[in-house]
C-alpha cells in the first residue's frame, strides 16, 4: 500500500495522435481516486514529457497512444528518463496496442499496458500497488 504522500501522476499524449478521450477519462478517474493528476495535452514529444515529469516530480507517467507509434515513442521516453536519472518513475501505457507488442514493450520500457475495455479501477489498483515510494 502507499505511504502518506499523495501520488502524483502525469498523463501524457505523445506523438501526433489526437484521440484523448481515454487519457482524459483515466485522468479524471485517478483524480477522483485521490491522486494529483497533470494532463499534458496533445502532441508532446518524448523530450517534453520527460521534462514535465522531472519538473513536476511525478511518481507515475501514463502514456496514451492510439496511432500505432508506440514502438517508437515508449522506448524513447524510457531512454530519456534513464538519462535524467528519473527511471524510478513508474511508466504505464494505454491505447490500441497489439498483444505481440505489449510483451516486448513490457520487457524493455513500460511496467504495464492497459488496452481498451480496462476498468479504471484496475489502473488505480495497479498504481497503488506498484508506485515506488
Amino acid at each position: 500500500m502507499v505511504g502518506h504522500k499523495t501520488i502524483r501522476v502525469l498523463i501524457a499524449k505523445p506523438g501526433l495522435d489526437g484521440h484523448d478521450r481515454g487519457a482524459k477519462v483515466v485522468a479524471r478517474a485517478l483524480r477522483d481516486a485521490g491522486m494529483e493528476v497533470i494532463y499534458t495535452g496533445l502532441r508532446q514529444t518524448p523530450e517534453q514529457i520527460v521534462e514535465t515529469a522531472v519538473q513536476e516530480d511525478v511518481d507515475v507517467i501514463g502514456l496514451s497512444i492510439l496511432s500505432g507509434a508506440h514502438n517508437f515513442i515508449f522506448p524513447k521516453v524510457a531512454e530519456l528518463l534513464k538519462e535524467r536519472g528519473a527511471d524510478d518513475i513508474l511508466v504505464i501505457g494505454g491505447g490500441v496496442i497489439p498483444d505481440e507488442d505489449i510483451a516486448s514493450l513490457k520487457a524493455t520500457c513500460v511496467s504495464e499496458i492497459f488496452t481498451p475495455g480496462t476498468p479504471t479501477s484496475e489502473i488505480i489498483e495497479y498504481i497503488n500497488q506498484h508506485v515506488k515510494k
Binding site: G15, D17, V25, R43, G68, P98, G117
Partner: protein, 559 residues
C-alpha cells in the same frame, strides 16, 4: 390526431388501463429497472401513444420527402431510386499499398472512395520531419507531394468515382493535389465529385489535427467555399462533422447540437466574407455517427434534417431548396467496438448501419470488427462492406421512404432531440457562437463530462457492454492483425529526397514565395496553392509557409 374528443377518450382509456391492467401486472411482475434511458440518457417511458405527439403537425413538422422541412428525407424516392454510397474509409502505408486497397474495394462493389491520411499529412508535416517519426503511414496513407497523389489514384478514373478525403487543416492543399491529378487524367475540375472534411472547429474540440489558429483557418475554409462555388459545382466543400465529437464521448443530442452550431459558424463566416448564402450552402454536407440505440439514432438523423432546414430558412434566409437540405455521411461507432470477442462487433455495426439507413443517410462507412485492435484486414473490411450490401438487398428496409415515421416513439424522440439540441445551440449562441464557446472550453467540458459519466456507468454496470462487463470469456490473443510495414517510413523519406533533387527548385521557391505574399493579403489562396502543388512543392513546405504567416494554434488544456 387533432380531434380533441378522441384525445380525451384515449387519455381516459389509458388511465383505466394503468389502474386496472398495469397495476396488477406490475405487482406480480415488476420491471427490470425503476427508470429506463436511451443511450444518451433521455428517459424512456413504458409506452408511447398519440398523447405523446399531440402537437405534431404532419405538414409542418414532417412534410413530404424532398420537401421542407425534409424530416422524411432529402430525396422524393430515397433508396427506391438508388442506394446510399457505400464508402469505406481506407488508407495506410504508402500510396502504392493504398491504391491497391482502393482497387480491391471498387472490385468488391464499393461505390465511392474515402481516403485516410496519416497523421503527419493531416498536420502538415512531411515524412522526414522529426515529429513524423514513428507515425508515417500508420493511421492512413502518407502523402508528401503531388507525386504520391498521382500514385494513389493511378488507374482510378476520377470522373467516375466520388472521393471523400478526411483532411482538415491542410484541406486546400490536398484538394489542389486532387485537381492536379485529375487534370493529368484529362478530367476538368467541374467533373469532379467528392468531399473534403475541411471542418476545423471540431478538430479543436474533438479530433486534434489542427495547425493554424481559428481566424486564418476559417479564411482558408471560406476561400475553398468560394473557389468551389465557381469551379467545382459537384464538390462538397466541407463535411461538418459530429462523428468525432460523438467518439470523444458526446451524447446524441450533444453530437447534433455541437455539429449544427459549428455549421452555423461556417455559414456566418462565409456570409461575412461576402458570399451569398445560396451560392455556397448547397455544397455543405454533414457527417454523423451511428451508435447502438437504434430508435434514438434514427430520431437524431430525422431531427438533424428538420433543425438544419429551419435554421437555414429562418436564421439565414436561404431560398434555394438545396441550401436547406442536410445531406450526410454516416460512420458506425468506433468507440462502441470492443477488443474483447471482436466478432461481436459485426453485430454492433449491423445495428448501427441499420440506424443510418433508416435515418436516410446519403453514404455510409461500416467499421470492421478488428478496429479496437489494429487497422482492419482485407477480410474484415469485406464483411463490413457486405453488411451494407445485405441491408440494401435483403432487409427490405429500403423499399419505402422513412419507414419509421409515424411511430409514436420515434416521433416523440425526434421532437425531443430537436428541442434539446436547439436549447444547446441557443446557449452556444449566447456565449458568442461556436468559436467563442470552444475558446472558453465550454464544448470540450460538456463532452468530457459525458465521456466520464459513460465510463462510470459501464464500471458500475448501469450499462452493459457484452463481453466487457458481462459475458466475458478467456480469450487467446487475436491473430492475423494488419501491421504497417516499418520500412514505409524509410521508403517515404527516400522518395521525398529523390523528389527534391529532381524537381525544378527555382519554380518551387518562386511559387512558395508568391503564396507567402498572398497569405498576407485577403486574396483567395486556392489558386496559389494549386500553383505550388503543380510545381511539386511538398505539403510540409506549403504548410510551413502558411505557419510563418498565420502562426500555430495553441490549445488550452481543460480537464
Amino acid at each position: 390526431m387533432e380531434d380533441k374528443k378522441s384525445i380525451e377518450n384515449l387519455e381516459e382509456k389509458m388511465q383505466q388501463w394503468e389502474n386496472e391492467k398495469l397495476k396488477k401486472f406490475l405487482e406480480k411482475a415488476p420491471e427490470r429497472k425503476e427508470t429506463f434511458y436511451t443511450g444518451s440518457n433521455i428517459e424512456v417511458k413504458r409506452l408511447y401513444t398519440e398523447l405523446d405527439v399531440e402537437e405534431l403537425d404532419y405538414l409542418r413538422d414532417l412534410g413530404f420527402p424532398g420537401e421542407y422541412p425534409y424530416t422524411r428525407g432529402v430525396h422524393p424516392t430515397m433508396y427506391r431510386g438508388k442506394y446510399w454510397t457505400m464508402r469505406q474509409y481506407a488508407g495506410f502505408g504508402t500510396a502504392e499499398e493504398s491504391n491497391e486497397r482502393y482497387k480491391y474495394l471498387l472490385s468488391q462493389g464499393q461505390t465511392g472512395l474515402s481516403v485516410a491520411f496519416d497523421l503527419p499529412t493531416q498536420i502538415g508535416y512531411d515524412s522526414d520531419h522529426p515529429l513524423a517519426q514513428g507515425e508515417v503511414g500508420k493511421v492512413g496513407v502518407a502523402i508528401d507531394s503531388l507525386k504520391d497523389m498521382e500514385i494513389l489514384f493511378d488507374g482510378i478514373p476520377l470522373d467516375k468515382v466520388s472521393t471523400s478525403m478526411t483532411i482538415n487543416a491542410p484541406a486546400a492543399i490536398l484538394l489542389a493535389m486532387y485537381i492536379a491529378v485529375a487534370e493529368k487524367q484529362g478530367v476538368t475540375p467541374d467533373k469532379l465529385s467528392g468531399t473534403i472534411q475541411n471542418d476545423i472547429l471540431k478538430e479543436y474540440v474533438a479530433r486534434g489535427t489542427y495547425i493554424f489558429p481559428p481566424a486564418p483557418s476559417m479564411r482558408l475554409i471560406t476561400d475553398i467555399f468560394e473557389y468551389c462555388s465557381k469551379n467545382m459545382p459537384k464538390w462538397n466543400t466541407i463535411s461538418i462533422s459530429g462523428y468525432h465529437i460523438r467518439e470523444a464521448g458526446a451524447t446524441a443530442v450533444q453530437e447534433l447540437a455541437f455539429t449544427l452550431a459549428n455549421g452555423i459558424a461556417y455559414v456566418e463566416a462565409a456570409i461575412k466574407a461576402g458570399l451569398d448564402v445560396d451560392e455556397f450552402a448547397p455544397r455543405l454536407s454533414f457527417f454523423f455517427n451511428a451508435h447502438n440505440d437504434l430508435f434514438e439514432e434514427v430520431a437524431k438523423f430525422r431531427a438533424a434534417r428538420r433543425l438544419w432546414a429551419r435554421i437555414m430558412k429562418e436564421k439565414f434566409g436561404a431560398k434555394n431548396p438545396k441550401s436547406l437540405m442536410l445531406r450526410f455521411h454516416t460512420q458506425t461507432a468506433g468507440s462502441t467496438l470492443t477488443a474483447q470477442q471482436p466478432d461481436n462487433n459485426i453485430i454492433r455495426v449491423t445495428i448501427q448501419a441499420l440506424a443510418a439507413v433508416l435515418g436516410g443517410t446519403q453514404s455510409l462507412h461500416t467499421n470492421s470488427r478488428d478496429e479496437a485492435l489494429a487497422l482492419p484486414t482485407e477480410d474484415s473490411v469485406r464483411i463490413a462492406l457486405r453488411t451494407q450490401q445485405i441491408i440494401a438487398h435483403e432487409s427490405g428496409v429500403t423499399e419505402t421512404v422513412d419507414p419509421l415515421a409515424g411511430s409514436y416513439y420515434v416521433e416523440y424522440l425526434t421532437n425531443t432531440i430537436e428541442q434539446k439540441a436547439y436549447e444547446y445551440i441557443d446557449k452556444i449562441e449566447k456565449l458568442g457562437g461556436a468559436a467563442k464557446a470552444i475558446e472558453k472550453g465550454y464544448i470540450q467540458q460538456e463532452i468530457q463530462e459525458s465521456a466520464y459519466k459513460y465510463q462510470k456507468d459501464v464500471e458500475a454496470k448501469n450499462r452493459i457492454v457484452v463481453g466487457v462487463n458481462m459475458y466475458q470469456i478467456k480469450e487467446e490473443p487475436p491473430k492475423g492483425l494488419l501491421r504497417v510495414n516499418p520500412e514505409v517510413e524509410k521508403r517515404q523519406i527516400s522518395k521525398l529526397s529523390e523528389l527534391k533533387s529532381s524537381r525544378d527548385n527555382d519554380k518551387v521557391k518562386q511559387t512558395l514565395e508568391e503564396l507567402k505574399h498572398k497569405a498576407g493579403t485577403d486574396e483567395n489562396l486556392v489558386p496559389y496553392i494549386l500553383q505550388c502543388v503543380k510545381a511539386y512543392c511538398t505539403l510540409g513546405e506549403i504548410c510551413q509557409v502558411l505557419r510563418e504567416v498565420f502562426g500555430e494554434y495553441k490549445p488550452q488544456i481543460s480537464l
